[in-house]
């Protein structure tokens, strides 16, 4: 079909606007990348705005020579991998029984899970609870204490209930399979898109998680990347902007932190394109009324 002149203008304007929006979305990250590859003094003068000036990889060499980064990186990987694994395990263990209408007490357990989405004890009781369980400053505390997300659990429950036909379970049961076998050999393989989506969600939450890690950890060697970055960046730049003058030590710190940001974001952005199709699917699955 031929486009009218009006439509052509409409599409052109729309495309230009979307291009601008895309640039705005990416610009801050491009800036950080360029600044991290520039000479610290030129950055401190505010002369870098798009491309690196006075190209150097000095910042990266310094960052990678700083032991603290490696420790924090290792910690983040531990929390992300084990946290995601544990979260997925508990989510499956809850979502599968809740997807069965025949289960006695299903309504009660559903409410039990849903209630935590609308009301929580709050920050201080949660903190005191971690303290009383002796889980302050504990890696296990962070991994299991903040593992279940009821919203994600309901996405999975809806997927089990609406995307996988009951007849599969029935015929397996006739062949003598038990519930555990049905779950592991039939439901989980079929729910792979949903599992991948939720794994991504949990992983992103873990990788980016800051607040509780900053609250419960006291030992430096247990801190994840986000907490370390916060310490490096925000504390130092504030001190600088409050005085109004940057000291020469802060020049360096600024570009160093940019390099740290790049290093910490790379794994997220590297897996992102592959997982994009999954998380879009996951969100729309969650919108299905159960």
């Amino acid at each position: 079909m031929r486009q009218t002149k009006g439509e052509k203008i409409f599409y052109a304007i729309n495309n230009v606007l979307l291009m601008i929006i895309s640039i705005i979305s990416l610009y801050p990250l491009l800036y950080v990348l360029s600044a991290s590859l520039s000479d610290p003094e030129i950055v401190a003068m505010g002369k870098v705005w798009l491309l690196p000036k006075g190209f150097s990889i000095k910042n990266y060499i310094e960052v990678l020579n700083y032991d603290g980064i490696w420790t924090a990186y290792g910690n983040t990987i531990i929390y992300a991998v084990f946290g995601t694994a544990f979260s997925l395990l508990t989510t499956i263990c809850l979502a599968y029984p809740l997807s069965k209408k025949r289960l006695r007490g299903q309504a009660f357990f559903t409410f039990f899970a849903a209630f935590t989405m609308w009301f929580s004890a709050g920050m201080i009781p949660t903190f005191l609870n971690m303290q009383s369980l002796n889980l302050l400053d504990s890696r296990i505390g962070l991994i299991i204490g903040f593992s279940l997300n009821s919203f994600y659990m309901f996405i999975m429950r809806n997927y089990f209930a609406s995307s996988i036909p009951d007849s599969l379970e029935e015929s397996a049961k006739i062949d003598g399979a038990n519930d555990l076998y049905v779950l592991i050999r039939i439901y989980l393989p079929l729910a792979l898109p949903c599992l991948a989506t939720l794994a991504l969600y949990y992983m992103v939450d873990r990788w980016n998680g800051y607040l509780w890690a900053s609250i419960i950890f006291k030992t430096e060697s247990k801190l994840p990347l986000q907490v370390l970055i916060k310490k490096l960046i925000l504390d130092s730049t504030w001190a600088a902007s409050m005085d109004g003058v940057d000291t020469s030590a802060n020049f360096n710190l600024e570009t160093l932190t940019y390099a740290t940001i790049v290093v910490s974001v790379i794994p997220m952005l590297a897996v992102y394109p592959w997982l994009q199709k999954y998380f879009v699917k996951g969100l729309t699955v969650g919108a299905v009324k159960g």
């Binding site: 929006i21 599968y96 309504a107 920050m123 916060k230 997220m268």
Partner: protein
Amino acid sequence: MLNRKTSPPVDTKTGNKRQILWKDLKRDKLLYLLLILPITVYVLFYYKPMFGLQIAFKNYNVFQGISESPWVGFEHFKTFFHSPFFGRTLKNTLMLSLYNMLFAFPAPIILALMFNEVQKIKFKKFVQTCTYIPHFISVVIVASLVTSFLSPSSGVINTIISAFGGEKVYFLTKPEYFRTIYTVMGIWQGTGFNSIVYLSVITAIDTSLYEAAMIDGANKWKQITNVTIPSILPTIVMMFIMRLGNILNVGYESIILLYQPATYETADTIGTYIYRVGLENSQYSLATAVGLVNGIVGLLLVILSNTISKRVTEYGLW
């Protein structure tokens, strides 16, 4: 979403109920076995802390612990309601929510409409990918991007201002800018990702509606206002009502990273106040009392908004 009801088998013979229940429990024993792990996690980390809420009515001290500390009734609630912080934090929380609803709420709807009008699939994929990315950046990094972009000495914004001959501004120390900064940050981070929900509804619209509109001579603009927008209106209404129910929940994590005493006047919300009083000043009882008020009012608002949503859009969360 949660409106399923179990329909226990109809039982005509009285006295057999117990036997049938026992049979059902036995039949599903493996399912109950699966429930043990998640229920334990819920009990230990979500429900057990609720017993700690009693310290809102006590003078908690570390040595006596939660149950042994002396009761003081509503003293901490009175302290909060009579303090200047009550008015300030409530106002700031509501103002940030209001800014969010005015500016951040419509943004993904508009973006989804724009995505839908892109002709070339490759370009559409590209712009979607670009706009979703900020969602995957952590609050710490976003907050530090904001801090460095607004930095008075080397920040991009101030460099532009001074290039046009303006005075450099210490944005993050000026209370009058905080709400704008916070809202813009939220829009940058969330708009792309939040558009997914609307876009998925738009792509499900029956194409024959558009064809009929074109036969009637409707131009592009008329098609958008008369077909697309009415089709996603129920979703918009539902999302808006749910947003209203969460009016007291402002993302305080990023505020903690961005505010400073100079901007408390506009930046201090209920969430940040609880954090400061509780974790920085260790006034556990007062912080718990404030959290309890916030939690209960929040719960009531969610219930209320869900009821309204069901009436208006026939769609509720339960």
